[in-house]
Amino acid sequence: MKFLDEYRDADLARQLAREIQRVTTRPWTLMEICGGQTHAIVKFGIDELLPPALTLIHGPGCPVCVTPLEIIDQALEIAARPEVIFTSFGDMLRVPGSRTDLLSVKAGGGDVRMVYSPLDALKIAAENPGREVVFFGVGFETTAPATAMAVYQAAQKRLTNFSLLVSHVLVPPAMSALLSMPDCRIQGFLAAGHVCAVMGYEEYFPLAKQYRVPIVVTGFEPMDILQGVLMTVQQLESGRAEVENQYTRAVRREGNGPAQALLREVFQVVPRKWRGVGEIPRSGLGLRATYAAHDAEKKFGVAGRRVEESPDCQSGLVLQGRLKPNECPAFGTKCHPEHPLGATMVSSEGACAAYYRYRRLQPAA
């Protein structure tokens, strides 16, 4: 397929891998931020092409994985109400809350529907004026503009039966939180290309400078990731800590202006709890007061839930890059995709699920 096959070429991959090998003289630890990149790395076996001196650790960039248990429980509570049509991206349906998941709520009679776009949820709201339609807004800066557009249009069209359970999160504050941890091993980042397509990459300059860490905006195909790794290693080897853009075919420095304007119109930056990581200041998006009428948390009075994670789940350490999924004692035993203890085993972008899917026969290092 055009624009795809050329980024998955076996010969080119080997050439890039040889070049990475050539420039690597010391051990380095890099983190790919985005779950989409983790998935591609494990799916295509990209890490097998890298020299042993390079370690890739998998970052917290899976929106499903970092959505806190409290918000999932709120979703389950709202979805079970008879007047509600609860809409969500497919990935969220199987994520376990503290007791059940959305698919089980659906089986129990809840009207839970999978949508591909928040605007589809808005359409459902327009078609069902007698019902309350709630969209579960999860994801990074990548999905947030579409959610913002749905709320914006709902307000314009006075669709008061449309509301949003919002759990959007922002990448740069999470990178900053990881870098300020005392035992941080990350020496270079592959930044998430799609997030940067929306937001641009100016936000990363202060991070690179403050923590002396190279950040390379990277795409999602094997060639992108290998080239991103090469650019990061070249910086590390030459003692540079700069922001570079590998993903030039999709990302401009300033990002997507109209999308950013829409985000500013609808959302404000708020503190947000990340599943497995904890609360990170200024790391989430919440609805502005002007859109409070569309806030499902307020509408259904589900704020203020507190729940505990499974004590066997170490997804927090996995999300922080301190533990490889197959090093967790529960991996593949107590925890597998049919019975996930944590969200990293549920989402196709979750590091644990990716390892289970493609790597479970490989012993932990």
């Binding site: 397929m1 795809l4 998955r8 070429d9 076996a10 991959a13 080997r14 989409g36 494990v42 799916k43 295509f44 076996g45 990209i46 097998e48 092409l49 929106p63 499903v64 991206f89 497919g90 990935d91 969220m92 349906l93 199987r94 999978m114 591909y116 999860v138 994801g139 990074f140 990548t142 999905t143 799609h194 094997p222 995709p337 049919e338 989402s347 196709s348 972008e349 289970y356 899917r357 493609y358 790597r359 479970r360 026969l361």
Partner: protein, 348 residues
């Protein structure tokens, strides 16, 4: 095909009943009208026309294959087929996977109250045409009607009987290390055609289901004396499920190569967009054949005569226990894993 059938006026409405009523399943006059004017009229053959509770048939040879399958597809009509055509093709193909020549089908309908008669007629005509093309007869059947809201328009169950004329053992247990694996065409198209339609996704160029009968190809392989160890149709769970089932039953490793597995560009594009895996997407006219290595070249030629996109996708080995491995596009080896349930589209 469907458009043509649609022009044929439905024989049942009798002006006052344009929709299926509960009474159409009630055993009275309405049910008899439905059976006589719709099902018997469309499927007519001497065995069916005996109007007996069971059809009595003579089967040539000593060995026979017998199978059943239920069809619950939504939407009922999709590009490249409909519930009627897959209800015939699916069961015919199940028989073909045993190397059988399909002869007879049964057809049991579960209809939802309120189903337009015109819709049912389209389905019935499609079954009739598919059965004709496959050279099978529908010789017995049943009709039930459920309350509105308790069904999804039409559910169909078909059972099928075929004769096994060859002496080979075609079964998962027959698979040996060294066997070569072939598929008869591009994979994953039916599942993506349904997904695209169900979710209202528009792509450049419509994705058409691959629904088709494959029994003639299997008969051609047998007639040429190909040593076939196992055949498996790639329906629910797609290629991945089929390979896992065989690997587990044979206790061997299946090794396939991503680059060798044919996938149409539009299917590939839709899967990339939705975060789905074409190898896990269902087909309705595709099968994998496990054949002795010496016969692989000839088998491919025979397949390609009917299916130009057919190809050799991998082989079976005894190294690596019971597993399915995929050599990825960039040359690394990974597990080809089963999906947990239905494939869920990714977020971003």
């Amino acid at each position: 095909m469907n458009a043509l059938n649609f022009n044929v006026t439905c024989p049942v409405p009798l002006t006052q009943y344009p929709q299926v009523l509960l009474a159409h399943g009630g055993g009275g006059r309405l049910m008899h009208q439905l059976i006589n004017r719709m099902f018997l009229a469309a499927f007519s053959n001497p065995l069916l026309d005996t109007h007996h509770d069971a059809a009595v048939v003579d089967l040539p040879g000593r060995r026979m294959a017998f199978t059943t399958d239920s069809y619950v597809v939504r939407p009922l009509f999709f590009p490249g087929g409909d519930i009627g055509s897959i209800a015939v093709h699916g069961t015919v193909n199940d028989l073909a996977m045993a190397g059988a020549r399909p002869l007879y089908l049964s057809s049991a309908f579960i209809l939802e109250e309120g189903l337009p008669m015109e819709t049912l007629w389209r389905v019935v005509c499609s079954m009739r045409d598919a059965a004709r093309r496959c050279g099978v007869q529908i010789i017995t059947g049943d009709t039930k009607v459920v309350d509105r809201g308790k069904g999804d328009g039409v559910f169909i169950n078909t059972a099928g009987v075929g004769v096994v004329a060859h002496e080979q053992v075609i079964a998962p247990a027959g698979v040996r290390a060294g066997d070569v694996i072939l598929v008869n065409g591009d994979v994953g198209r039916h599942g993506m055609a349904i997904m695209a339609m169900r979710e209202g996704l528009a792509f450049d160029g419509q994705i058409e289901s691959d629904s088709a009968p494959v029994h003639e190809t299997v008969q051609a392989l047998l007639a040429a004396g190909i040593e076939i160890h196992c055949l498996r149709d790639l329906t629910r769970g797609g290629l991945t499920s089929a390979l896992h089932e065989i690997a587990e039953a044979a206790r061997l490793t299946v090794q396939v190569e991503e680059k060798l597995i044919p996938v149409r560009e539009e299917v590939h594009a839709a899967c990339e967009l939705l975060g789905l895996d074409p190898f896990q997407s269902a087909c309705e006219g595709r099968f994998a054949a496990f054949v002795a290595p010496a016969d692989a070249g000839r088998a491919l030629e025979i397949m390609r005569a009917q299916w130009p996109e057919a190809g050799i996708i991998g082989h079976v080995t005894s190294e690596g226990g019971t597993n399915v491995f995929l050599k990825s596009a960039i040359g690394a080896r990974r597990i080809l894993d089963l999906a947990s349930g239905e494939q869920l589209p990714r977020i971003c």
